[in-house]
Symmetry: C2
Subunit: 175 residues, 2 copies
């Protein structure tokens, strides 16, 4: 029986981090380095965390973010072996619901609407694996948790870690 | 430990059926009776099923639907005993995502965004109970299925049936 694989969107298949840095620079003329975000909640690495947070709520923020390197190709491969579900805590940002749907339709048209889940608490979504960048999701899942590296989680010492999509494939497509 | 209760939106907490009949009449001047919808897929009870189906895709359709009688009050009561989740297959109608979110914010502000799930296939959402009007959800859930009566399911002979929200309370709040 095929196993069920749940994959988060932000900072896992969508490159929110670089997108956020670029938009902040475009709006405020200050380019921060990715190193400034290491090991802290994301917006706190920006000179003005409140202004940084406000950017997320602007129309288009999620729809215009780029894909993580190798993510789309890897998802296509994973789908040959797993029942693949996209599981995003999109409910926190209601304006992102349609944008995230449209992003997936554009970048991952091979993923059916039946396999997309927008939620808040991911603990009631039960799959065999969950790839996510946040402990608030990984610590409470019934799935085997896989931590996808993002700046904010570099100091985390638990869960199997993957640093990029090639490492996901090495882990889940081996043998 | 509190049990988890998942509740569908359309035809369970939102009165889509009467709303659809009213909008069809307003647009096409023909009022069908609820009896015309008994035991058949919903749109097939309308004189022009294609036109009826198109109404669902019009902006505002989901946001302006009324609540089912007694639904909101019952959900408030159920929340005192259960971890309540709203689980809607909203992904089939991408334009409904924000509208369904806004509907819940307006009618059920006591339900946290963390407890709202918009999905396609509900089988990966695992709770103790699922109240739904569709066999495509109830037949594949790991939860105890509870069939909420809607015109299209009146002939269904399986699952525990509830005909209204008082019957839900009688079933789930007893003792």
């Amino acid at each position: 029986m095929r196993k069920k694989l749940a994959v988060d969107m932000d900072n896992v298949i969508v490159d929110i981090e670089n997108h956020w840095i670029n938009i902040y620079e475009k709006k405020y003329g200050v380019k921060i380095q990715k190193e400034d975000l290491l090991g802290i909640p994301e917006e706190e690495g920006f000179p003005d965390p409140v202004a940084a947070r406000a950017l997320i709520y602007e129309p288009g923020f999620f729809r215009t973010a780029p894909a993580m390197p190798g993510a789309v190709e890897a998802l296509m491969k994973l789908q040959t072996r797993y029942d693949l579900y996209i599981v995003s805590a999109a409910m926190e940002f209601p304006n992102s619901l349609k944008e995230k749907h449209d992003w997936l339709a554009a970048y991952c048209p091979f993923i059916s609407w039946k396999n997309i889940i927008f939620c808040g608490d991911k603990s009631v979504v039960v799959t065999d694996y969950l790839i996510d960048d946040h402990l608030k999701n990984l610590d409470y899942t019934k799935a085997t948790p896989i931590l996808f590296t993002a700046s904010h989680n570099v100091h985390v010492q638990k869960h199997t870690r993957v640093n990029n999509w090639q490492e996901v494939l090495d882990l889940l497509m081996k043998d």
